[in-house]
């Protein structure tokens, strides 16, 4: 298939996204429609529109919610406007609230949260001890919380603000990535696979330094498949793509676009998001390590990948239809 054909195909799918949004959100006021149209001006805006279309089509979010947000967007930058609108208290119920079913993972496949050490300090250590992320404080925190036992029980308070949410992946995929990271002696594989576009961090020389929080088996934090509402659209670069209704998990989009799990749909790690401000009693901390930042693919490329995901996102009619839909769409 030539590059031109791919481009044409994408143009076609984008047309579908657009007409789908216009027909679904037909009740928008003129102001709301203007905001929606403004999304089509930038790659990030187009990505946002495509993610919304995937979520709407999959039944993960409601049309009414989307309309309401668009009516409430202020300012010229629609993506930032969406982020600001979503941070209002009245839309609190949209965070981590996918309508898709997300069953609790099996006992041997508990959740794991991977984050930069500063985020860990900000969300978990600071509310409990008041400590910050000066280099000597970071060292102390790594030494005392992330020893062989990694006992995090001392951290009983948690402050998820300002984003109000945490992302998790299943233990099996964390272990797989960890093995690769150990082989390569670098945390790069985590930054890439999880789509962490951190430019800097609080490791040596200001490089990102990752740690993992292992949830106890059977712990239910109410994590859901992520939707467009779980993204901070004000970020300069967005490395997120919504995912259709399959198994109650989203799929990350790696920074480089590389596939990690061939057996897995999309080849990307599974992900969920939750807003449970739980204590870390019974949780275990593990150091993953540091790595130079991973340069993400352009926003255009993320948008193109989103179009491919949209093409596969059809409303489910009956059990097993997803696969048939996929195949027929791909053939088309």
């Amino acid at each position: 298939m030539s590059t031109l054909e791919i481009a044409e195909g994408e143009e076609f799918i984008w047309g579908e996204v657009w007409s789908y949004l216009l027909s679904t959100l037909a009740n928008l006021s003129e102001g709301g429609k203007q905001k929606l149209r403004a999304l089509a001006m930038t790659p990030k805006g187009k990505l946002c529109a495509t993610c919304l279309a995937i979520d709407l089509r999959s039944g993960a979010i409601r049309t009414q919610e989307v309309s309401e947000i668009f009516e409430n967007v202020r300012g010229d930058d629609v993506c930032s406007g969406i982020a600001k609108a979503l941070s209002e208290e009245k839309y609190d119920n949209l965070i981590c609230c996918s309508l898709l079913e997300s069953p609790v993972p099996k006992a041997n496949d508990a959740y794991v949260t991977v984050m930069e050490i500063a985020t860990f300090i900000y969300k978990f250590v600071r509310p409990n001890t008041g400590e910050g992320f000066a280099p000597e404080e970071v060292k102390k925190i790594l030494d005392t919380y992330f020893d062989d036992e990694g006992d995090l029980s001392a951290l009983i308070k948690c402050d998820l603000q300002p984003s109000g949410r945490l992302w998790v992946l299943p233990r099996s995929e964390y272990s797989d990535l960890l093995e690769r990271a150990n082989r390569g002696k670098s945390a790069r594989v985590f930054l890439d696979a999880l789509g962490l576009t951190l430019k800097s961090g609080h490791g040596v020389n200001g490089l990102p330094f990752l740690v993992a929080i292992l949830h106890p088996e059977g712990h239910d934090c109410g994590a859901k498949q992520p939707t467009s509402w779980d993204v901070w659209w004000a970020n300069t670069h967005i490395q997120f793509i919504s995912f259709r209704r399959v198994d109650g998990w989203g799929r990350t989009f790696s920074c480089t676009g590389m596939r990690y799990f061939e057996s897995n749909d999309e080849g990307m790690p599974r992900e969920r998001v939750h807003r449970d401000s739980h204590s870390l009693s019974g949780f275990t901390g593990r150091i993953i390590g540091g790595s130079p930042p991973v340069e993400p693919v352009s926003q255009d490329e993320v948008f193109r990948a989103a179009l491919k995901r949209f093409a596969k996102a059809w409303p489910r009619r009956a059990e097993g239809d997803d696969n048939r839909d996929d195949q027929s769409r791909l053939q088309a």
Binding site: S80, A83, K84, S87, A118, T119, Y122, R126, P127, N128, T129, G130, E131, G132, F133, A134, K140, D143, T144, Y145, D147, D151, L152, S153, A154, I156, K157, D159, Q161, P162, S163, L198, K199, S200, N205, G206, L207, W232, A234, N235, T236, S279, S281, P293
Partner: protein, 353 residues
Amino acid sequence: MTTNLGFRPDFLRAFEHFNLEKWQRWMEQWLLGIEAEPRIDVHDGNLLEALVSLYRAMTDSPVRLAFADAAASLLQTTLIDSSSAQRLSVMIGLVSYARPTSGRAAIRKLVNMDPIWFTGNQMTSIHLEALNAAGRYGLDPWLLRYVTKQQPGSTLQHNLACFRILVQHDHAAEAFLVLDRIIPQVGDRASESALRVELTYAADFLGCVGLLRYAMDRQPVLEYRESLADAGNHFSNAMTSALRRHLSANDLLAFARSYPSTWTEALVPFLAELHKVTLKDGRPLWSLEFLSTSTPCLVVRGAFTRLSASDSNVIRVLEDSMSRSNNPYLFDMDRSLAEFDRFKGQVGTGVVK
């Protein structure tokens, strides 16, 4: 090209002409949620992280100093009230990181305020953040007085922060006084873990010997006062867990030297207890075994599995020290060395007869 901290040098040049007032205005706007120019990338809405990154990316210059001073002056003028909690938290975090001279007074004012102003979840954290920031400015007489004096209604977290500040500044004696008021507050697993974290840090920073001595001194009190039995157990768990990571043969030697006359009565049972609770996965990190025979003979076999063979010298000195002590038992050096050979690779031995 970007700097290590993800900023392009030409972007940082946009701030070159910024003085105190410009920084104040610029920060004020961001605190109000207005994206002032030059715009920074506030990842996931975390303003503190974005401001700290910007500060770190700037080279040491008047512009950077002005940035830190602006943060201090904004902190100074922020209303201390739950309605400003988010803003206070960002400003304290920034001042704590950059430590401008002008920020000390603002931080001290916050620390010194009556705790009644810091009720509610978020405000309690803010007082802790301010106390921690005060510690980062150094331990002057004012702060030393503040952290050693029992504050009315002070929480466990508050006292632990005071303990941490004293440890950081190598004030072991005062730190142990604060520890005295911490122990009765440790009543559950979570607070035991919080204490363990600080004791682990203290063991690393101050060394284990001081902590061992403290534990030895307090043990009788904790055992005999019924009201402290629970707290004593939690303290004991936290202490052994902290020591597990840092205790070395040198520490044991120094410790044994401190107690030549009470070796058998107090030290040995204490170490035996320590050994018992520091077993990990069935294997001791270090251990002492006690074998009584029909004759009044006590065999102390120190199995320092985490130590290398070169530590045998330390163990010999330890044995030597014990043999010279006014101990009713004699020290059998030959037998001890034979024992040591037998446990070679993982064991050092001492036999007290």
